[in-house]
């Protein structure tokens, strides 16, 4: 579905991506992990055309979105949604208006239908009675939930999650992870999650890819990923306070 080949990107004079090759499996949840500042979010933004590569190709169902016009790109973007690190809710709108926004703009539903759809989505993410509030009145976890509701409401085929649990406590992190898994089961979208939540992320995604030194160092199904013997992978994923989930780490 999404294939990146030879992606190079330099930002502010610094090379960030140095030849990324990556294929995102359709209908699955894929995590992109890696040290901070390696360009994971930059890579994610290439997948939806927010950034264009200096070199390389980003194929979405065979169409190179790095080489098409804005109009064609917008047509492809209608199949996407993105949950940003900061949730990126429009602060001049209420939660309800935020979730209704893509439906209204794309004229995907009449007003009565829209009201039912938005309220239904808010109920699903546990914000059923928060529709009248403004983003500034919500906690970090609630903002992420509202952002997820806005991402899901149009029924996208692909959802990109940019560090969806950054800054949240462990309970809220689990709650957001559970919500992503539950929504994936219901809607069956292709999901790409940039995350630092190791080892928790291994239990919710199907595939894991690790970005290191501007390239994909390794990619494997999540259960196998932890057994990759590469010392750079092991160094990154082995942490002392996660005995059960990262048990394989100890063997290396």
């Amino acid at each position: 579905m999404i294939t990146l080949t030879g992606i190079h990107k330099t930002l502010g004079g610094q090379p960030v991506l140095r030849g990324v090759d990556l294929e995102i499996p359709a209908g699955r949840l894929t995590a992109i992990i890696g040290p901070s500042g390696e360009g994971k979010s930059v890579l994610l933004k290439h997948m939806i055309g927010l950034l264009r590569p200096d070199r390389g190709h980003v194929f979405v169902d065979g169409v190179d979105i790095a080489r098409i016009s804005d109009k064609e790109l917008n047509a492809i973007r209608k199949r996407f949604a993105m949950l940003f690190q900061s949730a990126a809710l429009f602060d001049s709108m209420t939660v309800f208006e935020n979730v209704a926004f893509p439906l209204r703009e794309k004229q995907l539903a009449s007003e009565p239908e829209l009201s039912t759809m938005v309220q239904g989505m808010l109920d699903r993410v546990g914000l059923g009675n928060m529709g009248h509030k403004y983003p500034a009145e919500l906690s970090g976890g609630m903002k992420k939930r509202a952002g997820l509701a806005r991402a899901l409401v149009t029924g996208p085929e692909i959802i990109l999650f940019d560090e969806p649990t950054t800054g949240l406590d462990p309970l809220m992190t689990k709650s957001i992870h559970d919500l992503i898994v539950a929504m994936h089961r219901v809607f069956g979208f292709t999901g790409v999650i940039v995350s630092h939540e190791i080892p928790k992320i291994f239990s919710i995604v199907d595939w894991v890819a690790m970005l290191r030194d501007g390239k994909i160092l390794a990619m494997a199904p999540s259960q196998e990923f932890q057994r990759i013997p590469d010392p750079r992978v092991q160094e990154f994923i082995c942490i002392d306070d996660a005995p059960a989930a990262v048990a394989p780490c100890r063997e290396h």
Binding site: I48, R77, F90
Partner: protein, 260 residues
């Protein structure tokens, strides 16, 4: 020693290139915004909302400044004209100053300070908090959704505010000249009627339309391309207000020299 001039030339050259690049980016930003102006969907509700913000909410500060500008013009004009025994021309002096120059320039500077700075801050915060990226991911062009309503509102709202500035300013001059200093009310109004021509009004309207464009263009541009930090946004807001004010004054000179 020989390195010092080389370094100086290199620095000047780099600065010049940066300036040219910035100017080019500003013009492209304007052209792309204008190209989105005539493409559907047309979001009239956003234009009305921006008109309320740029126009209606600037009314108080415009009325306040125009009243005192008119009053001080009345005062200064009276004492200057009295030296030549021409107090009866006070009305025309106040009205022409207001309509040709002070109205468009001062009202635009007030709008820059109140609404222009807010435009930069609003768009800049949207950039920093990824709200602009969010719009793009929803296949909504941010220039069309965010910038064009502000541009239309400024181009429509500023001339209306300038008209208000002119009228209130002339009344301010009347208050001081007629009510306080004893100039005849009839001569105040008749001198306006005989001195002010359609050309003066037309020039003022033309100026205010172009100033409205400059305000929304520069202030939105600075917010749209702000660096992603609180300090960067503060700098962008300051630059927006300073650059807009300077451009208004410079453009005013060129327009005046053409219109006179």
């Amino acid at each position: 020693m020989a390195r010092i001039p080389v370094l100086a030339v290199r620095k000047i050259g780099a600065g010049t290139l940066l300036l040219i690049e910035e100017m080019g980016r500003m013009f492209l930003f304007l052209l792309r915004t204008l190209s989105w102006l005539c493409r559907p969907p047309f979001r009239f509700s956003l234009i009305v909302k921006q008109l309320h913000f740029v126009g209606f909410k600037s009314t108080f500060v415009v009325v306040l400044t125009s009243t005192f500008t008119g009053m001080v013009l009345g005062l200064q004009g009276y004492y200057s004209l009295r030296k030549f025994g021409s107090e009866a021309l006070l009305g025309s002096a106040v009205a022409l100053s207001m309509i040709r120059e002070l109205g468009p320039v001062l009202a635009s500077l007030m709008v820059t300070a109140r609404a222009g700075s807010a435009m930069t801050a609003e768009i800049g915060i949207m950039r920093i908090t990824e709200q602009i990226d969010a719009l793009e991911t929803m296949a909504i062009n941010p220039l069309q959704y965010l910038i064009t309503p502000k541009l239309v509102a400024s181009v429509v709202g500023v001339p209306l505010l300038v008209a208000m500035f002119d009228i209130v300013g002339i009344w301010g001059g009347h208050l001081v000249g007629v009510n306080l200093l004893g100039v005849s009310s009839g001569s105040y109004w008749s001198s306006i009627e005989s001195a002010v021509e359609w050309r003066d009004v037309y020039g003022g309207i033309l100026k205010s339309i172009s100033f409205g464009l400059i305000i929304s263009w520069v202030c939105c541009y600075k917010g749209f391309y702000t660096t992603l930090s609180a300090e960067g946004l503060g700098k962008a807001t300051t630059e927006a207000v300073v650059l807009t004010s300077v451009l208004i004054l410079v453009w005013d000179y060129f327009l005046t020299s053409v219109l006179l």
